[in-house]
Symmetry: C2
């Protein structure tokens, strides 16, 4: 069996060849042989123009598979492909989606098309989607599926099995939820338990009552944390009256986890979550420029400090030589602290109780690393330039800057969290602003103080 990546490389190469040659029949033969999830992965490697050809060929030949493929794509990418189609075609495709996948597409459609599409969909599916649209983005209500197995608690095992046989194929049905007659969630029975008990047993006698559940307004990150912590494959979603309204399955949780990890990483680097390597330059420039303009502002603080010390630099140009080094070391050490803080906050492992200890600890690490790195740098520069005072200035500047890095590397994510902002968002930028500025301030400040000995 080929590695999944290699297999896709080959398929992508062939697809490109068929697209370029306009060989739509051969393209369809290739697509027919691939799993929907693989076609989705293949689309991710193609450019927009090529994607449109693939989707059109697919849609002409197999509408259901087209729906499967589109539901595996990132919603933004699926919308990109759908929005050129007629509303009736979009409706036809979306009603094949599970409700949680469909809502992610519908919310991205332009307002007028959205209404048309919802009106054109089958009534049941359209109602489900409209219901999910009421819940806020990134909550359990928005990502849950409204298709699940739930039976009344007095149901006998034999009838439960018959009900399962009569019901259609439901996405990842691993649990049977048990409710009272008003649909309040009371328990859960695994399919395995159904097999293990005599046909006449009532569900209420074999159900587990200690069901881990989330509310419709629970944040999706919190849902993911619960599924991960308790090793679940699905988690029921209830409203504030404990009525069962949906289920979030583990495959959606994996998407949430990947999405949040990407988000943290991108936000730390100042990249929009929806930016892609495959986008056109213009689109990516538009997405990245705002952050760069912001950086232009934050990065302008350090030049002000340097400007203040112009006369010192004129007298001792050697200080300018070491400016980039002192700034870089502070930024790098601060980034280490920020990465740790952001990740542990995301994984829910930092509380206000531990934050204070973390602060003292990271400051101690900053000073410790500062002494270790600063003394080496001090010694080297002393040997290179023969001026002990230069070594002292550089060593002290590094210690001060790494102290600042530890202090602010901890405080910035914590303050952002306290302000209910994302700790990843802009924290690296703010930190670099501070370490650049304090780096210049300590290096050039000390340089001015000891200028007499430097000349």
């Amino acid at each position: 069996m080929l590695d999944i990546v290699t297999k896709l490389d080959i398929a992508t190469k062939s697809a490109r060849r068929f697209i370029d040659a306009g060989a739509h029949q051969r393209l369809w033969n290739l697509l027919k042989s691939l799993h929907s999830a693989d076609i989705a992965a293949l689309l991710n490697r193609l450019f927009l123009k090529e994607r449109k050809v693939v989707i059109n060929v697919l849609y002409e030949n197999d509408k259901e598979k087209t729906a499967e493929v589109l539901s595996e794509l990132e919603p933004e990418d699926a919308v990109e492909l759908l929005k050129d189609m007629q509303p009736q075609d979009i409706a036809l495709i979306l009603q094949e989606f599970s409700s949680d996948d469909a809502v992610q597409i519908v919310e991205f459609l332009p307002e007028d098309i959205k209404t048309q599409v919802l009106d054109l969909m089958r009534k049941k599916e359209s109602e489900d989607v409209r219901e999910l649209l009421h819940y806020e983005e990134k909550t359990a209500g928005r990502i849950m599926s409204t298709e699940y197995y739930a039976l009344e608690k007095n149901t006998r095992v034999a009838d439960a099995i018959t009900a399962l046989q009569l019901a259609g194929d439901i996405e990842s049905a691993f649990y049977l939820y048990v409710v009272d007659k008003d649909n309040h969630l009371e328990g859960v029975v695994s399919l395995r338990q159904l097999l293990l008990h005599p046909p006449n047993t009532q569900l209420k006698d074999i159900m587990t009552t200690d069901v881990i559940r989330v509310f419709t307004d629970t944040d999706q990150e919190e849902v993911a944390r619960q599924v991960a912590r308790y090793n679940l494959v699905a988690i029921p979603v209830v409203d504030h009256e404990n009525k069962l309204v949906g289920v979030v399955t583990v495959d959606d949780i994996i998407d949430v986890i990947n999405e949040e990890a990407t988000e943290d990483m991108y936000r730390m680097a100042g990249v929009d979550e929806s930016d892609r390597i495959q986008y056109s330059p213009i689109k990516s420039i538009k997405k990245r420029l705002p952050f760069l303009y912001l950086s232009l502002i934050t990065a302008s603080l350090a030049p002000f400090v340097v400007n203040f010390f112009k006369d010192t630099i004129k007298e001792a140009v050697i200080l300018a030589v070491f400016m980039p080094l002192v700034a870089a070391l502070g930024g790098i050490a601060g980034n280490q602290t920020i990465a740790l803080m952001v990740r542990e906050i995301t994984l829910g492992q930092v509380s206000w109780l531990t934050a204070r200890k973390a602060l003292f600890k990271e400051v101690a690490v900053g000073i410790g690393n500062g002494i270790a790195i600063g003394s080496v740098l001090g010694l080297i520069s002393y040997f290179l330039y023969g001026k002990p005072i230069l070594g002292l200035i550089l060593g002290l500047a590094v210690i001060i800057n790494l102290f600042i890095a530890g202090l602010l590397g901890t405080l910035i994510p914590l303050i952002l969290k306290f302000l209910r902002l994302d700790p990843a968002l802009g924290s690296v930028n703010l930190l670099t602003m501070c370490t650049d500025t304090f780096g210049m301030l300590s290096l050039l400040g000390l340089g001015t103080l000891f200028l007499h000995y430097l000349q």
Copy 2:
């Protein structure tokens, strides 16, 4: 129901109070009321000394729960707590683990203790662990569980159900694997399908033969990609003769995904994966110093360039003022590209076919953003200092540096991948070295060229 984080904050506060007061009975009462996974999360918020108290109290009162809690911790953290115990106690705890969890602990134990512990464990469990130890780290073989349901293909549905009833509780049993008499994997039957077919049907008549499987030596990231792509809750692991040897369940996949996301983020920031906010300063300093010393070396390239242009700076100190700004902008833009490349390589969305287009695209973005940012900076500096040539130099330096950022931000992760190294590892460091250096080179080089007009 309380938010999981708030609930833990309260439990942590109480646990701390009981530990400080030596109130072990009250501590045990608290622990008794918590799910094992919650105790594990609580331990993550405590410092090592406190953790040891909790584990001791737990072990005195409930050995099985101790095993459950320890299996939920990161292996390194569990080993930290276990290594002070007697080998017979460690063996007692580890034989309650599932084999894939136990092996992760055993591999971290000192060699002499490892042998003793394996000899002291129950024969069956000890053999399973020894078998898994043969497989390489971070492969399917290492993370798979050897406990799974597999039956011969001629088995009738009724007998399969009886077999399930007789078997003990197996971790997340959602599928029944179907094998021939030599244990070659031939198909899979979901528990739901068992319920839907008459008792006399043979498994071979209802099984799905197109089973997605991985090999024992498949990389764990690749296993995670397959589970995520095909929305599975478990994936069978076979040897190179297609004999079924184990199963990787989705809860382990979630751990892998979180682990790899942490790894990417930490490696980009130069943090060791095993570093923790809760560690002692000495421990964290030891973990972070190597990367900082390496950074001291890479960050020393820029000072060499500045040193070369000392005379220019003496003549036009204004250039030194803008050094931090030009360097910072290059670093920030390059980081944007690196974050995108690393993430898309991890998610398996960049192939050699798309890499070339990505390179041209990111270079175009670099130049485009460079023009947008450079011209603003040029204009501002012109208005501030009244020297058009200064504006021109700054604008050009930013354009050149952002071009370099786009070029190397794409190339560095690709080259690292080509060398079979982790694209995240050290890429930011290498990039900053380059943007700092080229930033100084272009700013001071242009400054020297137009020095006459600057004075």
